[in-house]
C-alpha cells in the first residue's frame, strides 16, 4: 500500500529526515517511536503533503501512485487521513457543516451522490457511538472550546466517519488521561480491518498497550534505526532512548 524509499526531507533548509525506508501493507499496524525532535511529525507531514516540508530526495508510492504529485486534498480523497497532534480550532464552522462538506467532497471524488442530511446525521450518530463522543459535540464549532481529550477523540471520530485506507495518528496519545487513551485506542482497534492500515506515531509505549502494532520502528535523528515486532516497544520503555546513541 505504502512504499517509502530513500526519503530525504528538509524544513527551512534544515535536513530533518535523512534516509527513510518503510513499507506498509494493508491490514498492518505500524508504530513509529522516537524521542522528541527525531522527525516523527515531519514524516507525517511529508505523507499528507504539508508545504513546509520539502522533499529533497526519494519517493513515496501509495497504492501504485506517486504520492508526491498529489495535492493534500487529493491524498485525503484517496484515503489518507492524519489525526493531528494539535487539531486547529475553526470558529463558527460547525462540526456538522465541516464533516458534511468533507464527506461529500470525498464522495464527489468517487462519483457518488452527496449524502442527504438524514443519512449523514445517522452516519454521524453511529460513528460517535463507536468512538464514545457525546452527541452535543457535533453542534459545536470545529475543535473550538474542546478539551485536549475531546480534540483527540474528535480526530478519531473523524477518522471513523471518513473511513480512510491509511490512517496516520500523530501523537494521538499525548495529553490524554488513561480513560481517554482507552477510548481512543478502542476506536482505532474497532476501525482496523484487512483493507486498511494504520501508522501510529508516539513518544511513549503506553498507547501500544492498547493498540497492538505488528511492527515497531524507531526513528532517531532522521533515520529508522531499528525495526522489529511489538516487543521492541517494551524494550524501549525499559531502556529509554539513550541506548540508541551508544549503538
Amino acid at each position: 500500500m505504502l512504499d517509502i524509499k530513500d526519503l530525504k526531507v528538509s524544513i527551512d533548509g534544515k535536513e530533518i529526515l535523512k534516509e527513510i525506508n518503510l513499507k506498509v501493507n494493508t491490514g498492518e499496524v505500524h508504530a513509529i517511536m522516537g524521542p522528541n525532535g527525531s522527525g516523527k511529525s515531519t514524516l507525517a507531514s511529508a505523507l499528507v503533503g504539508r508545504d513546509i516540508v520539502k522533499i529533497v530526495k526519494g519517493s513515496i508510492t501509495y497504492m501504485g501512485e506517486n504520492l508526491l504529485e498529489l495535492s493534500p486534498e487529493e491524498r485525503a480523497r484517496k484515503g489518507i487521513f492524519l489525526g493531528f497532534q494539535y487539531p486547529v480550532e475553526i470558529p463558527g464552522v460547525t462540526m456538522v457543516n465541516f464533516l458534511r462538506t468533507a464527506i461529500n467532497e470525498q464522495r464527489r471524488f468517487k462519483n457518488l451522490e452527496p449524502l442527504s442530511s438524514a443519512d449523514f446525521l445517522k452516519l454521524m450518530r453511529e460513528k460517535q457511538e463507536l468512538v464514545g463522543l457525546q452527541s452535543k459535540l457535533t453542534d459545536r464549532s470545529v475543535n473550538e472550546g474542546f478539551s485536549g481529550g475531546e480534540k483527540k477523540k474528535n480526530e478519531i471520530f473523524q477518522m471513523a466517519l471518513l473511513e480512510p485506507k491509511l490512517a496516520i495518528l500523530d501523537e494521538t496519545d499525548s495529553g490524554l488521561d488513561i480513560d481517554a487513551l482507552k477510548i481512543v485506542a478502542n476506536g482505532v482497534n474497532k476501525l482496523k480491518s484487512k483493507d486498511n492500515a494504520t501508522i501510529v506515531i508516539t513518544h511513549y509505549q503506553r498507547l501500544l498497550d492498547y493498540i497492538i502494532p505488528d511492527f515497531v520502528h524507531i526513528l532517531y535523528k532522521g533515520r529508522i534505526v531499528k525495526s522489529s515486532g511489538k516487543e521492541l516497544a517494551r524494550e524501549l520503555e525499559e531502556k529509554g532512548y539513550e541506548w540508541l546513541s551508544e549503538e
Binding site: R50, D51, I52, S71, I90, G92, A102, E105, L162
Partner: protein, 482 residues
C-alpha cells in the same frame, strides 16, 4: 510555504458576476442633467401632489449649497452630476396592478434574478416589491396583506393613495439637510417601497424590496419608508443587483424606519450591486443613508447587512434610540475583493433611558480592496443606564488589502456602560490545511472558514436569505484564493 500561500491568496477573483446581464426593454428616459426643470418633470410624470414637489425643490436648492463630503476612507473620483440620467423607466402599461399588465420581458428579468413575481411561484412567506431603475414594477401579495391592514406598495403608489402618511413621516428620520446624498435623493428620488404595519399586527410574511438597475448612465435614487405602529412586528428584506457596465453608476438611496411603542423592525440587506471588474473598472457607487428611530418605549430596530457588491460602499445604517428601554442592533458582514472599497458601520444615538445597542461588524478583505468600519456610539446627557457592546473584527485574505476601524464615542452620561472589542486576523493556514487534509479543496475551505467567521451575523438573517448570503460570500471570494 510563504510563497505558496501568497500566491494562493493574491490570485484575485476569476468568477463572473452572475447578475450582470442587461434586459433589452424599451425605456423611457429623461435627458441627462440635473436642474429644477428635471425635478419638476420627475414630479409631474409621477403626478405628485404639490407638497412633494415643494419638498424636492427645497432639497435641491439645499443640495446646491452643499459640497461633496470627503471624510470617508475611500478614493472617490469626481462625479459629474450633469452627466447622469435621473429618470429611467421601463415602458409598460400604466399601473401594473395585475401581472398581465407587466411586460413579460420584465417578468423574465426578475425570474432570472431568482425573484419570480408570480405569486403562485413564490415561496409563501415573502412579499416582494420589485423596483427596476426608477419605478416599481410589481408588488406581490398586496391583497393578502391588506386584509390585516398592512400597506405594502411602491413609494409612488403610496404618494397617491396615502399622501397623509407620506407627508407626516417622510424626511422625519433623514431630513433632506442631513447630508449631501440625502439632499440629492430628496430632490430626485423616483420610486422605492412603502410599508405601514398597523397597531398590534405582526406581519405574517417577510416583506422585501428588490432593486435592479438596468438602464445605462442612470442614477438610482429610491426611498424606502417603513412605519411600524405600536405593538407591531415586521421583518424586511432588501436585495440589489445591476448589469456589468464599464462606467460607474450612482445609487443614492434613503431608508427611513419609524418604530412606535413596543414595535420591532428587522431590516436585512443583501447588497450585491455590480462591484466592478478585476481591475476595478466600473461598478456601482453605493451611497446610502439608512436610519431608524425607536420612537416609542420598548421598541427595537435591528439592521443586518451582508455587503458584497458595489465598487464603493458608503453607508451607516443607524438607530436613534429615543424611547426608554429601546434596543438598536447592527450586524454587518462587508466583503471587499479586487479594488472594491467599503466605508461602512453604524451610529447608535442613545437618548432614552435604559436604551441598549449591539454592534457586530465583520469585515473581510481580499485582493487590493480597502475595508473600513466606522461607527459612532453617542449617549445623550439625560440617557441613564445606557449599554452598548461593539465588536469589530477584520479578516484579511491578502497582503495587499487594508482593514481599518474608526470607532467614535461621545458619552455625556456617566452611568453608561460601553464595551468595544476589535480584532484583526489573517486567514490561518493551519485551518486551511486542516480542511485540505479532510479532502476539502482550497476554495471550499476558504468558503467554510469565512462563513464560519461571519456566522454570528448570517444567523441574524431570515432563513431563506441566509442560505443565499452564504453562497454569495463564497462566490464573492471565488478565485481570491488559488
Amino acid at each position: 510555504m510563504e510563497n505558496e500561500q501568497d500566491k494562493i491568496l493574491s490570485e484575485v477573483t476569476e468568477s463572473e458576476y452572475k447578475y450582470g446581464f442587461v434586459t433589452d426593454i424599451e425605456t423611457e428616459t429623461f435627458p441627462k442633467g440635473l436642474n429644477e426643470k428635471i425635478i419638476r418633470k420627475i414630479s409631474s410624470i409621477k403626478k405628485e401632489p404639490e407638497f412633494l414637489l415643494e419638498f424636492r425643490l427645497k432639497a435641491y436648492r439645499h443640495w446646491l449649497k452643499m459640497k461633496m463630503p470627503r471624510w470617508a476612507n475611500i478614493k472617490l473620483p469626481e462625479i459629474d452630476y450633469q452627466d447622469m440620467i435621473y429618470y429611467a423607466a421601463p415602458k409598460q402599461k400604466a399601473g401594473p396592478e395585475t401581472l398581465d399588465g407587466v411586460d413579460p420581458e420584465l417578468l423574465r428579468t426578475f425570474d432570472r434574478l431568482g425573484i419570480p413575481l408570480d405569486e403562485q411561484k413564490r415561496l409563501t412567506g415573502v412579499a416582494v416589491d420589485a423596483v427596476m431603475d426608477s419605478i416599481s414594477v410589481k408588488t406581490t401579495f398586496q391583497e393578502t396583506l391588506a386584509e390585516l391592514g398592512i400597506i405594502f406598495c411602491s413609494f409612488g403608489e403610496a404618494v397617491k393613495e396615502h399622501p397623509d402618511l407620506i407627508k407626516k413621516y417622510m424626511g422625519t428620520v433623514v431630513p433632506y439637510t442631513d447630508n449631501y446624498f440625502a439632499a440629492l435623493n430628496s430632490a430626485v428620488f423616483s420610486d422605492g417601497s412603502f410599508c405601514y404595519i398597523p397597531k398590534g399586527v405582526r406581519c405574517p410574511m417577510e416583506l422585501s424590496t428588490y432593486f435592479r438597475i438596468n438602464a445605462a448612465n442612470t442614477g438610482q435614487f429610491e426611498r424606502t419608508l417603513v412605519i411600524a405602529e405600536e405593538d407591531s412586528y415586521l421583518s424586511y428584506l432588501e436585495g440589489c443587483t445591476a448589469p456589468i457596465r464599464d462606467k460607474n453608476q450612482l445609487h443614492a438611496a434613503i431608508v427611513e424606519i419609524i418604530a412606535m411603542e413596543n414595535a420591532e423592525v428587522k431590516y436585512s440587506t443583501v447588497q450585491n450591486w455590480y462591484p466592478g471588474d478585476k481591475e476595478g473598472k466600473g461598478g456601482i457607487y453605493n451611497f446610502v443613508t439608512k436610519r431608524g428611530i425607536c420612537k416609542g418605549d420598548n421598541s427595537k430596530i435591528s439592521w443586518t447587512q451582508v455587503e458584497t457588491g458595489s465598487a464603493i460602499t458608503w453607508k451607516y445604517p443607524s438607530c436613534i434610540l429615543k424611547g426608554n428601554n429601546t434596543v438598536g442592533e447592527f450586524y454587518s458582514v462587508a466583503v471587499t475583493n479586487n479594488y472594491q472599497q467599503a466605508d461602512t458601520g453604524t451610529k447608535m444615538i442613545h437618548i432614552g433611558e435604559n436604551s441598549s445597542s449591539v454592534i457586530v461588524s465583520k469585515g473581510i478583505s481580499a485582493g487590493h480592496s480597502q475595508n473600513s468600519y466606522r461607527g459612532l456610539v453617542k449617549v445623550a446627557k439625560n440617557a441613564k443606564n445606557v449599554r452598548n457592546f461593539s465588536q469589530c473584527d477584520s479578516l484579511l485574505l491578502s497582503d495587499k488589502c487594508g482593514a481599518h476601524t474608526f470607532p467614535y464615542l461621545e458619552v455625556d452620561n456617566d452611568t453608561a456602560i460601553i464595551e468595544h472589542e476589535a480584532t484583526t486576523s489573517k486567514i490561518n493556514e493551519d485551518q486551511i490545511f486542516y480542511c485540505n487534509q479532510r479532502g476539502i479543496d482550497m476554495e471550499s475551505a476558504i468558503g467554510l472558514i469565512v462563513n464560519g467567521y461571519a456566522r454570528e451575523v448570517l444567523n441574524k438573517l431570515p432563513m431563506e436569505f441566509a442560505v443565499e448570503a452564504q453562497k454569495l460570500l463564497q462566490i464573492s471570494l471565488e478565485g481570491s484564493v488559488g
